[in-house]
Amino acid sequence: MRLRGWRKVAFYGVCIALLVWTVFPVYYMVMLSLVTWEDLFKPRLYVANPTFENYLQTFTQANYFVSQFWLQLYNSVSIALMTTAAVLVIGTLGSFALARISFRGSRTIQSLTPFTYIIPSSFLSIPFFKLMADYDLIGTKLSVVLVMITFASPYAVWILWDYGKTIPPDIDEAAMIDGAGPLAIFFRIYLPLILPPMVAIATYAFLFAWNEYLYAVLFLSGEKYITIPVAMGNFLATDDAPWNILMTVAVLYSIPPVIFYYCFRRHLVSGLVTGAVSGV
């Protein structure tokens, strides 16, 4: 279908408007990370005197607000990686059990898995806080990781199971005739075949834990133990918050997800959509 005349103009007009709407906040974030403190409250659409001073201050932990930047970044990374690893193990094994092994109650589990996805995670914050307090886990990374696993793994099982169903069972039977047990089937056949949605699930779990604010703010405290999102929230506790350094941290913190997304873009979109579209 070719567009001509005013339709073409209107089409590109809408496209440009949407692009500006979507990209402008990101541009503004990057721009603010490059301005000096003096220029911060003179709103402009471009940077008059760009400076990398903010990045230098962040990297060398020279400002009070970023005094523990590297430690906090390490906390974020370790929580996200632990969550990802656990979710992948639970997701692959759980989906293998649902897709390949018939056992009593498997249908109930299948229909229950999407439920944690439909209950907003913040609604369970108080029960989880009580639970973690009872087990004396408040203030440890493990508490945040456990909660993140709780919310991310049912979705992982659901998506991987949805994909695992589509692998023909003939392959399993052929392997069984060749003498492979369930474990060999899992490692040699099932795992390599569900690799694309696994990439999507790993990215999802990583970003889910990477962006988490509520549970991190509830469970972690103290400069050395909080994650970057909590530290960024703490910037705003004062009236003269250094927005340029806040934006610098925000830019640095958004780089890993962006890299993740562009490396695995193809798998990510198809993996997330299998779950949503298969119901069509």
């Binding site: 913040s122 609604f123 108080i126 949503a276 069509v280």
Partner: protein
């Protein structure tokens, strides 16, 4: 007094639209691609306008996707804590709270755990409705 509150809420809404519009667009593009091309060709032969093809082919084929996306979009927004906490903090005077920030305030700032849990229980009918729709969709 109402204007600043409305503005604060509007700002939070604008943020949510900004954040999730590209995501759902991506999902819908993938869903649209999964519709067989033949349907559109058949529609073209029958002399339909693009608008009619959208109304009678695209929309019915994506009905389930519309359903699940609206549901998840509502869930994501209903449970949001960060935006209100960071943008308004519930101010001015507890007027812009959402459920999760209000429960946070009750439980962790005022020490009334039962009030906090009660705040979430208020949303239970809505959540149960979502679960009911999801059960029917999963079947």
């Amino acid at each position: 007094m109402t204007t600043p509150i409305a503005l604060a809420i509007a700002a939070a809404i604008v943020y949510h639209i900004w954040k999730y519009l590209p995501f759902w667009t991506l999902i819908f593009v993938a869903g649209r691609r999964s519709i067989p091309r033949e349907l559109y060709e058949a529609g073209e032969i029958d002399g339909t306008t693009p608008l009619q093809r959208f109304r009678y082919i695209t929309f019915p084929m994506l009905r389930n996707l519309f359903m699940i996306c609206s549901l998840l979009s509502m869930v994501f927004t209903l449970g949001d804590f960060v935006i209100i906490k960071i943008m308004t903090g519930g101010a001015p005077g507890d007027s812009t709270h959402v459920l999760s920030t209000l429960a946070y305030r009750y439980t962790f700032l005022m020490g009334k755990l039962d009030w906090g849990v009660g705040t979430f229980v208020v949303a239970l009918p809505v959540t149960l409705l979502f679960i009911f729709i999801l059960i029917r969709w999963v079947r």
